[in-house]
Symmetry: C2
Subunit: 390 residues, 2 copies
Amino acid sequence: MTRIAIPEDSPFGLANLPYGVFSTPGTEPRVGVRAANVVVDLAEALGDDVFARPSLNAFMEQGHERWVEVREQVLDLVTDEVPGSAVHPVGAVTTHLPIEIADYVDFYASEHHASNLGRLFRPDSEPLLPNWKHLPVGYHGRAGTVVVSGTDIVRPSGQRKAPDEPSPSYGPCRRLDIEAEVGFIVGTGSPLGTPVAADDFHERVFGVVLVNDWSARDVQAWEYVPLGPFLGKSFATSISPWVVPLLALEAARVPTPPQSPEPLPYLRETNPWGLDIDLVIEWNGQVVSRPPYREMYWSPAQMLAHLTANGASSRTGDLFASGTVSGPLKSERGAFIELTWGGKEPIEVQGEKRAFLEDGDEVVISATAPGPFGTRVGFGEVRGRVLPAR
Amino acid sequence: MTRIAIPEDSPFGLANLPYGVFSTPGTEPRVGVRAANVVVDLAEALGDDVFARPSLNAFMEQGHERWVEVREQVLDLVTDEVPGSAVHPVGAVTTHLPIEIADYVDFYASEHHASNLGRLFRPDSEPLLPNWKHLPVGYHGRAGTVVVSGTDIVRPSGQRKAPDEPSPSYGPCRRLDIEAEVGFIVGTGSPLGTPVAADDFHERVFGVVLVNDWSARDVQAWEYVPLGPFLGKSFATSISPWVVPLLALEAARVPTPPQSPEPLPYLRETNPWGLDIDLVIEWNGQVVSRPPYREMYWSPAQMLAHLTANGASSRTGDLFASGTVSGPLKSERGAFIELTWGGKEPIEVQGEKRAFLEDGDEVVISATAPGPFGTRVGFGEVRGRVLPAR
């Protein structure tokens, strides 16, 4: 038996205890909990086969009461003695995609981001479209290309036409970008025909990850009217490996910014699910932005209520992301197209000029949120390196 | 042992032999083949457990060579004697969703439909947008709300704002519509980073279904700028239960209409996969339209090549649909918004005026295509009835 050392200031302390899927050399992927710098094998430590699976889906499907119960068991476990064979240093494990993704939806919930992109993509119109303050605008993305942090990103090719080109051509993306987002994972689905109330968010959503919604801006600009982004986004979406339980985020709850006009009744929530998450974006190791999630106009509870307002069912493993997190300051923008204003104002990154991503560049998005008693809850990171086009 | 009577003029004759998933009272859903008016239980008749599953996915995953081999086995089987216990009258079985849908993509490949919708949604601009003839415009839909023919469609509610209303409201859809489409099912996926060549279409795509992409036009009109259709479509998409093998459609192949400008190399195919499918739309039992699939500008092989052109992976069970099939004539339009010109020119249906769908209305889309020797290959039907909003 072994006792895990969990410093009070660890971002993976007792107030966090996120779940993931890991393997060690020669073993199958299975569910683990991260505590400080170790991963605890839950199938072995708790003797429950639901954790011997290569995704969290089976466990999530058991529902909110069970999530509460297991979280208590895990807390007991890591504060007591654990069988040594169930404990692995985090550096000795490989992390895998923690969720079998059902449907993937991406929202557009930052007023600052939506306004910036409106100015860049539609310079002759109002930056914010008439529907934007009435509903959380969103669209479906490609679930099959959601990958785990650490997966290399091959520069996508695609069809694009610069304004000064007479016709489009096919070739490697010239304006490869990121979007720093926060993603929410549905643990228990809802049946066809039954909208989820905003106030039921906490019973449906299991946990939270960081998302990098890689974006080929030139492909997107040419393709996206009238049916929205498609190949400009579908080549890869990276998520962080450790799913922070929603139960760990009580101390991070804050009101959303004032919403005016008042949302329609189906979008109202009793205690808003704004979240005080601080994101950090590093480009080749240099911090280039610190997007504040608390600035997001729409809450994730409103997103889920909207997503199902037409009676659409939801499923265990659905991932819905917030859209780019951008704050009001330039130093808080969550996409490079905003940071470099469409590429017209390049920034200096480790001594080199950058407008968009070059081959070999690496981006790391990390985040923390307040935990109880002054602690911080860490989301870990979502990391990806750009490989040349094939 | 029993011998199946298969009339030469059956739309489910020897040239067709579509696959589906069925059950009889008290038994589990499993794979069957339809021959004339019976369903043959493949797990029982061929003794292969891959057919004892509740979807075609495991069989499809075995790949193109295996599809050819099984098709020959099935042909031998239904032209010889079959164990009586493996044969069920089609009226005695329940059909289920035949595929576990991975990702769902909807294209917009009819020039007539795209032009009509352009005129209706954007009356002050060119009907066809600049990108339309350069690439098959498409977007991701909600895989989790794809349902099998016969599933009732609860009228969705949603947020909508008529042009003469000062602000949006939430309530039952007032402009509920259909889209008659043809859907293609990926049998063997392709890895991340590897585009599928248009000429590899026939090795990747297992079969074809009819699709009714139910559409809440008022919800769609309010929400769709700038990220595309979302809740206006995601409440339900119906598909026909019998998957017609692509192998059964050789005699239905026709050239696509002339494509000008010439598509970029990645969208070229050696022998175009235009398909001479005749669709029929019945509204409360009255034929209201006969959309010709051969008029579709983009072929499904071009759609798959485009879908993966950025390196996006594809998976067994991916469904991509053509978008509304509309021909040049008014009597060939595949959506009611086109047939009734945005509701301004109601049509008479069984003696009643209709612009959009009323509660209790039923829509049936059926189709056939040429088979060898003057036969017809039937797609069966996709049927749905509208229930009042909850």
